[in-house]
């Protein structure tokens, strides 16, 4: 794995965004070649706190993605398991997930794969653990009764099939989960630990999230930041455009 440690939440976010940008450019997507970005999914549609609203307000409305290319699990579907199965098929049809981006729960879960989830699970309906419900309460005015208790989620196995996995972890309240995920063994009680067996995982975190890690681990990975930061440098194609621009600005002088 690569463990990327930045000072603050905003820097961690920026690093992750640049990384995703670079990966998309390197992949060179086109009409027949989808760069599939996977994200954990969940709650039913209509609610302002639904994943649809979240994705719209925080991502889709800021970019020019075509609605046809977005697929969000529908928690209101008549046959939930069929919805999940269809989702797995859509992933296959799009050529598999190129990069999966997710977070980690305080209980170490990835997507809504709560402690005890099979590490080879697929997209399915899950009942949420109390920890997760408490964590989600802030989106429902703090009223526990309003928080949905079930969610549709991609499975651990589904994410393991992605060609690359990026996990974002920020804040001291996630520190213990991060410790369990990378310094202890693979364990279905801390499902993020499954990615120790994935060939290409990137964990992006801030200082606070490393509070439960060994000093040795943190020092090692911080020492690698010089190398890791190269991954987010503007790519050759963008640099080329920049040099073109600066050259054209020289023209007035030569006239």
């Amino acid at each position: 794995m690569k463990l990327i440690i930045l000072d603050h939440y905003s820097q961690a976010s920026e690093w992750a965004a640049k990384y995703i940008r670079n990966r998309i450019i390197q992949f060179n997507p086109g009409p027949e070649k989808y760069f599939t970005l996977g994200l954990p999914t969940g709650l039913p549609r209509d609610h302002p706190e639904s994943y649809h609203s979240f994705m719209w307000n925080n991502f889709f409305k800021h970019i020019d993605i075509h609605p046809e290319n977005t697929h969000i699990l529908d928690g209101n579907a008549v046959d939930l398991q069929a919805e999940c199965d269809a989702f797995e098929e859509k992933i296959k049809a799009a050529g598999g997930i190129e990069l999966f981006v997710g977070g980690i729960g305080p209980d170490g879960h990835i997507a809504f794969n709560e402690p005890g989830s099979s590490l080879v699970s697929r997209t399915r309906v899950k009942t949420l653990a109390m920890d997760t419900i408490l964590a989600n309460a802030r989106f429902f005015d703090g009223e526990l009764a309003k928080v949905p208790t079930m969610a549709l989620t991609v499975g651990v196995g589904t994410v393991m099939d992605a060609r690359e996995v990026m996990i974002l972890i920020t804040g001291a309240h996630k520190a213990f989960a991060l410790y369990k995920a990378i310094e202890e063994g693979v364990n279905h009680m801390w499902t993020v630990s499954a990615f120790q067996q994935h060939p290409r995982t990137v964990f992006v975190c801030d200082e606070d999230a490393t509070l439960e890690l060994k000093v040795k681990t943190v020092k090692y990975f911080k020492g690698l930041m010089l190398v890791h930061n190269k991954l987010v440098d503007p790519l050759y194609s963008i640099k080329e455009k920049e040099t073109e621009k600066s050259q054209s600005s020289k023209k007035p002088y030569s006239d």
Partner: protein, 409 residues
């Protein structure tokens, strides 16, 4: 249907690179329009799976709901109170010219006039939707003749009336018809005003208090009967007195029906109200403030003599007087000038200044679901403003109806 997503097949317009006034804040959001209404892009994205047919870059400008002027007596030489043969074309001229001031809906106002004038004029000014032809007519504002002699201001004394004899029937006989009427200004101290106010309110007509010597108690009683507006606060009413605040006291009265917001018109042209008085009113009750122009036919014309109702007025720069006197006879400041002056004089937020000219008048008339707002489902009547609140373009039902010279390519 109100609140709907517009005709599903129609073109979807996306206004980008702008700040829109929504929920009392200027948000960095795109404005989506379809079928003349504001569209919810999230629903479009997830339910219809569509993108915009056309994008328009707004150059970082402000998009605010179109201004609504509920008190305007005419302009550009047109006098709404004159019983000409073709009242309609006069209204149409004003409706078209005020688009450049950012006004997308208005209430043509008639000052105190003899019954013959009302009988001739009122039926000729129907409620009408706005469009490229001009701002929409929401209904008439009849200011007078049931007002106080003492506080008549520029209204002609000869045509003042009372409804002591037959209350509402007298009023109806004077106006001829109440079709097309949206607001009536009257003085509540006149005998039997309560019956009249109740009857008008029951018919959906907004009653406004003005040109009156009523004390606070009488004004509060009038509000209980249904009055909802105050015509040009401070002007043509008793001055504020600390032991009897008069009509002005309604702004902070605790004797009004619970949950009722009293609205009040203010002419923020720099002349009709001293900026300090403007600030006092604004600070006492900011949510009820409605900017009005009270513009007279001389709006948009130069200095000189012009007619207003049955009288002559003299225009001198930014002020207009009853000819030969020192009595103010109405303003000639366009609505966008009033908005800018209000902003500068009160130091209020840009959001509040814009709401005072759009949302508040819409709320007064009970139209806030479709006018004076950029919420989903509302009519797409809006203005494009630069940071100093100068009007760059005006849209009605999502169609460009006016554009500033500099903006034209």
């Amino acid at each position: 249907m109100r609140g709907g997503q517009g005709a599903v097949g129609a073109r979807v317009l996306q206004f980008t690179n702008c700040r829109i006034l929504r929920g009392g804040k200027l948000l960095r959001e795109d404005l989506w329009v379809r079928g003349g209404r504001i569209l919810d892009p999230e629903k479009l994205f997830f339910e219809e799976r569509r993108v915009a047919d056309e994008r328009r870059d707004c150059g970082g400008r402000i998009l605010a709901p179109g201004f609504i002027d509920v008190q305007i007596n005419g302009g550009f030489g047109v006098d709404f109170s004159q019983a000409t043969e073709d009242v309609g074309s006069g209204v149409a001229l004003v409706a078209r010219r005020i688009l450049s001031h950012g006004v997308t809906s208005f209430c043509p106002t008639l000052v105190t006039s003899p019954p013959e004038v009302y009988h001739k004029v009122v039926p000729q000014i129907p409620v009408k939707s706005g469009g490229p032809h001009g701002a929409g007519v929401l209904g008439l504002h009849l200011e007078g003749p049931f007002i106080s002699r003492e506080k008549r201001g520029a209204h002609p004394e000869a045509h003042l009336r009372s409804f002591e004899a037959n209350a509402f029937q007298d009023l109806l006989a004077t106006y001829g018809t109440l079709d097309n009427v949206r607001i009536v200004t009257l003085a509540p101290e006149l005998g039997r005003s309560h019956e009249v106010i109740q009857e008008l309110t029951a018919r959906g007509i907004c009653v406004s208090l003005g040109h009156s010597v009523a004390d606070l108690r009488a004004a509060e009683d009038a509000v209980w009967s249904g009055a909802a507006f105050i015509t040009h606060l401070f002007n043509a009413m008793l001055p504020f007195h600390h032991r009897d605040p008069g009509i002005v006291g309604l702004l902070t009265s605790d004797r009004l029906p619970v949950g009722r917001c009293i609205f009040y018109g203010m002419i923020a042209d720099g002349t009709h109200t001293n900026p300090a008085a403007l600030r006092i009113a604004h600070r006492a009750h900011p949510q009820g403030l409605v900017l009005v122009t009270d513009a007279i036919p001389a709006l948009g014309l130069g200095n000189g003599r012009h007619t207003l109702g049955q009288q002559e007025v003299e225009v001198d720069g930014l002020t207009a007087y009853v000819a030969g006197t020192k009595t103010l006879s109405g303003s000639i400041a366009p609505m966008d000038v009033c908005v800018r002056h209000f902003l500068q004089a009160t130091g209020c937020s840009v959001e509040l200044a814009l709401e005072a000219a759009s949302l508040h008048p819409a709320q007064l008339l009970g139209l806030e679901k479709s006018k004076g707002t950029l919420d989903f489902g509302a009519d797409a009547d809006f203005v494009v403003l630069d940071d100093s609140l100068h009007v760059q373009a005006t849209y009605i039902s999502g169609e460009l109806v006016w554009q500033a010279e500099a903006a034209r390519q």
